[in-house]
């Protein structure tokens, strides 16, 4: 396999080493039991799923890297977009038919940002770069869009009276939704903006850590990290905007009437950014 300067894997990790880190998971479980947070099950599921999913994806990526086929890359990213939209939809249960807006938002955000990165020439159009960066973009866009739509659904339900009062004054649906749209966009984007502000001070972002562990020079690690942070800001902004703008339409008829909101839609806790 071709190796690229600065991206060489300098460390090899045995499965036993991975297993040893479960000691810290045990600490998390102990804390959950001690404080009766009832999160032991969730922690167990999270650990098991992360192991299985990452291992499978690792083998999948290994195969795609070996083939270096852009078609396979596109297929993998498309699958990620579909799963991302499906996962985010569950968080946005108070937004009817949220799957399609999310699908469009994630697909456009991922395609547009990867296209820009390739055009600028940050890295060549190879599987080794497109897969991890695409995955990162889709993951962050999914989380932001889910947060934004969760907020959108909650706000529309909570402020139905105010929305109708505004419509009664001759406002269009877009005008009536303006404050809610603004708050939803802010909710989706603020976590990433805050983490971008504090990067390097409070935490080291993943790509930079990965590159440093892999033996890259700190300068290269920082620059690539900056590129990715800026790419993510654009992707998250685009995904959030599209998801919110496409979703808010479903709450209204063409005659600027607020549709009856489904009674079954329940409030879902706001997702946490990993």
């Amino acid at each position: 396999m071709a190796r690229d300067k600065g991206m060489t894997a300098a460390i090899h990790i045995e499965l036993g080493t991975v297993a040893a880190t479960l000691v810290l998971v045990a600490v998390a479980v102990a804390v959950a039991r001690w404080e009766r947070t009832h999160l032991e099950g969730d922690i167990g599921v999270a650990v098991a799923r992360s192991f299985v999913q990452l291992t499978l994806v690792g083998y999948l990526i290994k195969g795609i890297f070996a083939s270096n086929s852009l078609a396979w890359v596109a297929l993998l990213l498309a699958v990620m977009v579909v799963f991302g939209a499906f996962t985010a939809r569950r968080r946005a249960s108070r937004v009817p038919h949220a799957f399609w807006p999310l699908l469009v938002a994630l697909a456009i955000a991922a395609s547009a940002t990867l296209a820009v990165v390739l055009m600028i020439g940050v890295f060549p159009a190879k599987a080794r770069y497109l897969v991890p960066v695409g995955g990162m973009v889709i993951g962050n866009a999914m989380t932001a869009a889910a947060v934004a739509l969760n907020r959108l659904g909650d706000d529309v339900h909570d402020a139905a009276g105010r929305i109708e009062a505004t419509l009664a004054l001759g406002a269009t649906a877009t005008e009536a939704m303006r404050p809610i749209t603004r708050r939803s966009l802010r909710s989706g984007m603020i976590p990433l903006i805050d983490s971008t502000k504090t990067t390097g001070l409070i935490f080291f972002p993943g790509t930079m850590v990965g590159m440093l562990l892999a033996g890259a020079s700190p300068t290269d690690a920082v620059r690539l990290q900056l590129v990715l942070l800026y790419v993510l800001l654009g992707a998250v902004a685009l995904a959030t905007l599209l998801a919110v703008l496409l979703s808010r339409r479903v709450f209204f008829t063409a005659e600027h009437q607020l549709r009856e909101l489904p009674a079954f839609a329940r409030r879902v806790p706001h997702p946490r950014r990993p």
């Binding site: 109708e164 004054l169 008829t253 009437q257």
Partner: protein
Amino acid sequence: MLFELEGVTAIRGGRVVFENLDGVLLGGATGIVGPSGVGKSTLLRLLNRLADPSSGTVRYRGRDLRERDVLALRREVGLVSQLPASLEGSVADNVLYGPRLADRNADVVASLRLAGLDPAFAPRRADALSVGEQQRVMLARALALQPSVLLLDEPTSALDMATTTSIEATLHDLRDRLGLSFVLVTHDLRQAERVADRVLTLEARALHAWPATKA
């Protein structure tokens, strides 16, 4: 004739609120009374097209509501809801909201006075006022659009007796000074009799004139 309902059926939350409702609402002040759940609020929402009936026709001044521009209709037929729904910002921002959307000028002071609120309230935060004061802001906000008709959905149900009496006096004043028509829905027959020229009762299939009608 202000509004005419012909075979109107309304469904909300999957429940038939009323079916094949017929009735006529004349100009002036009309009170509609009926018990909770009979569909008074739903009826008002049909009159300015916040909702459409699942079947039947609602006419306004002889024309099917659906033939009119919905935004223009809502400016002409204003609605004051049961509970105040203040928008972000000051009282003045609230009053100017509708006129700004329609690219119209509005006199905040005059609107507040018409609604019986001291113009000194204009710079204050609307959502920090008492419920009674906010309800007057809602009234001023609707009046700023200079509507022909005002739909009032139990506007005093959350208010004490003194504030209710004061708002009723304001409604009398608006009718006399501006010649404004309004449709007031309430569960309180006495209030309807105090405020309206004529009172209708909403029943399952029809609007009936209450015997104690004044006009």
